[in-house]
Symmetry: C2
Subunit: 581 residues, 2 copies
Amino acid sequence: MGAVKRTLRTLDDVRALMAVARGEAPPEILVTGGRILNVYSGELLPGLVAIARGRIAYVGERPLKPAPSTTVIDARDRILAPGYIDPHAHPFAMYTPDELARVALVHGTTAIAADTFMLLNSTRGETTHEALTALSTLPLRYFWWLRLHNQGHSQDEAATFSDERLADLLAREDVRAVGEVTRWPALYAGDPTTLARVARGIEAGRRVEGHFPGVSADRLQVLTAAGASSDHEAITADQAMARLRAGLYVMLRHGSLRADLPALAPIATGARAFSGRLMMTPDGPSPGFVHHHGYMDHLIEVAMREGIDATAAYQMATINPATYYGLDEELGGIAPGRRADLVVLNRLDQPRPEIVIAGGQVAALGNRLVAGIQSLPWDRWLRPFAPDAWRPDASLFSLDGVPSPTPAMHLENAAIAVRKDIAHGGDLPEGVLRLALISPSGRWRVRALLSGFADDLGGLATSYASGVGLVVLGRSPQDMAVAATRALDLGGGVVLAENGAVRFELPLPLGGTMSPKPIAAISADLDRLTSIVRARGYRHHDLHYTLLFFGFDSLPYVRLTYRGLWDVVAGREIIPREDLR
Amino acid sequence: MGAVKRTLRTLDDVRALMAVARGEAPPEILVTGGRILNVYSGELLPGLVAIARGRIAYVGERPLKPAPSTTVIDARDRILAPGYIDPHAHPFAMYTPDELARVALVHGTTAIAADTFMLLNSTRGETTHEALTALSTLPLRYFWWLRLHNQGHSQDEAATFSDERLADLLAREDVRAVGEVTRWPALYAGDPTTLARVARGIEAGRRVEGHFPGVSADRLQVLTAAGASSDHEAITADQAMARLRAGLYVMLRHGSLRADLPALAPIATGARAFSGRLMMTPDGPSPGFVHHHGYMDHLIEVAMREGIDATAAYQMATINPATYYGLDEELGGIAPGRRADLVVLNRLDQPRPEIVIAGGQVAALGNRLVAGIQSLPWDRWLRPFAPDAWRPDASLFSLDGVPSPTPAMHLENAAIAVRKDIAHGGDLPEGVLRLALISPSGRWRVRALLSGFADDLGGLATSYASGVGLVVLGRSPQDMAVAATRALDLGGGVVLAENGAVRFELPLPLGGTMSPKPIAAISADLDRLTSIVRARGYRHHDLHYTLLFFGFDSLPYVRLTYRGLWDVVAGREIIPREDLR
């Protein structure tokens, strides 16, 4: 098992940095004239920052002499802050992690601790390492939390989450946590596999990322005893306080799924004690959220608007997550030896940066990405979503043999679905759609009904569904077949068909999950799809999450999985899967 | 290299704790009715604490049912706080670490991160491991910082601090830091051995304990770039702030050497940002300080008296050091999974505890130690101070052949000595003493003069001198020989002789450094010695430190080492050693 390093600087780095700090060697970059937000002391101080070997060598007021080769950045009347850190990201929300890096960098985020869910499911063997390493060495540096089980139960879960594979990945220095433990009821109940895997994370000195939506203060005691280190699921200040009191680090969530900072902010506006164990995260924002609002810069801005002290708001996005991940000597502050990740701001109340330096390179200037971030070879790395050639036909979506009334999935909001039993006969009742999950190889199907999604819709297919298969919904079996066929032909995607023809498509050819396109383009596509389904009665706030969560069987109360339509609380199928061949 | 664990709880612990938290198994101890200081949220909250397997299983207001075997502790009208942590201890200040544990436990200190200096010097091979392990498993739990070089230069330094030995010890889970780096000028200058050893600590994910007395803000940049994590040497609030700004964790010192909290407190009475990276330490208090004032409880009390918010004062002695050492899921707070280290207080402004629970055992009740702490077999573990039988005679301390004037060590205060050149003829000038360092085997001597210690004194010998040998001082060569002979006969100690007879002796038979006696007895002995030397003109505040620091050649400006009388700043001998046989 690798030692969990507090900083990745090497002896060579140290020697070079010391020479610059002593004035014996010139810096590579010199940022002069600005005021520096010191997250350790909570002050704004004048000073220059000297950078060498991708790290900060010196911070202070002694004039250091630039060499002709030194890049001098004039930060007069500007503020320097540490690069922002997202402690809890899902960097494959239709966009690729490399594309997210491009946009997040422009918005001042220079490090992300991210979910491994997609990589575990869609890569195997050395390819997993190759992809993790490629992302961990971008100008925006990825760190990882290692999932211990799948997001939705899947048929190949045993192989995807084998003990051997987890041990192999846990030895990586860039893996800083295990979790998130989405199956918290299993952890609570003491399920031996879950407990043993969490214990291996503890043994290796890693944090244990919780996922405890709605869990009471009393039950949190059991989960903290089990080893949980943090939670990001509080949606009220009281819930956040209960988590803090239980000894958990708390990540305040504000993103497209839930924008909770206004509700959570009171926890950080009171006594001094709180802020050190608080962080913020957008928790895997939709392409539209990133495109329209930004990233951690937006959260800092909202936090300040909601009354959180400016210094605390920046600390919650810099030194606090660095400390949580045991990286406080590597990231999160402007001090010698740290990675040179910093932002130049026009004003402290405007966290959207003018200049971003990441790993000692100028990464962004204004709206423009300067750092070259090549697209990673996802098409080579990821297993294809639909490897077998076959064409779903309309009969797949008939209700023949489905008893009436039959259990349906009823969407209460973008994320939560309850069970509702619906009678169906020759015609479907108004507002009720057919719902199916089919295996991408056509080996099985799950049939049910869906309400609360839209009033009317020909057919919609989505491979973006927590990796459980192809979800197909609509009123017309023919349109459903057209949409499903096209989604499979594309190698994954979201496709809407009406009157026998494809009306909209958002190809997700990378593992059925991601598009190679820029976030702006994906956002525009999703906006277009959202207005189409809105016109057909979709009323919730985030279509992207509604699609993703069809298969996320840790969310209440009813989900689609390969085992059938699934009762999350009871832990059993309501409608079983039908094997087709 | 061992993983640096964040908590030492095992899977078996976890299962047992969860069962108690779920209410399925009874706790071993139940502390009811108190208000709990929650260092995570900064609140005082009502609740009970359930303990099992030496750890906290549950904290909250749900009534848990005790079994007949459960120890119920009634804490009505009382306050529960986490056990105190000293992040920077030298637990062999004439007392043994096991004796310190006895007294510190009564005063509520339940964990200590300690110096390995004495153990490295006085033990070898597996014995070092045996001693470290014995101390790491006491009710008061010791963790360690691994010295990279000696306190005073010694002849056997190469063997004592070999790379192989350091690597072997660095692999221990209970070794949480390297340092303290007393030879900071070597680190600053980039001395390859020092740098490489610090880099190995960094590589292993350990903290790097600094020791940077008087170092300027500008030079701190170089030392932080080199890898330093903390410093405890600030003596003004400005110095403390400079260290905090440089990204260092800051330990505020308040002990017998220096009692600086009144000067340092302003750093922690301002904005919220500061307190998270601040700790407190007595930095190896004298027996008298521990006996008369206590331990971390005293520091918390002084901090509050000096205007630091009570919650912050407790955090600085609990969760902050735990976080610094990467042990925040093991120690420092009252939350599930943590080691059951807690104190029951009468009032929040009285940190001296009524009851102390350590590792899930009642360790102290009022003034009484309840936990059994057996004396450790130091006489078996430690190399004897004076293995060879020989008797120093008066001629050893004559000034024959010493030129006049000759360099002298002049004590400015208890710790700082400057060079002063003194003429000597037939008689010594008033207030000047002979000073010698002799090897315990009689192989060499260093002769010099001493002023600023006492006006008159027959002979005083001390083996307690940072491990450099036997320091002998006085005006009478005969009395010096009597004192030195007796000190060697005792196997180490502090001996004062007058008129040819031993007038006082404090035997330190354990490696020449420690007494097997209780701290109270050592304190009384030292008080007696202090009044004897005060009557003879000693004017400084801590005799114990004056003796210890004769050989500590990182302190300014003149010290005694085996190389001779040593100029610390110039790094060379002023008077060379004389080899005797």
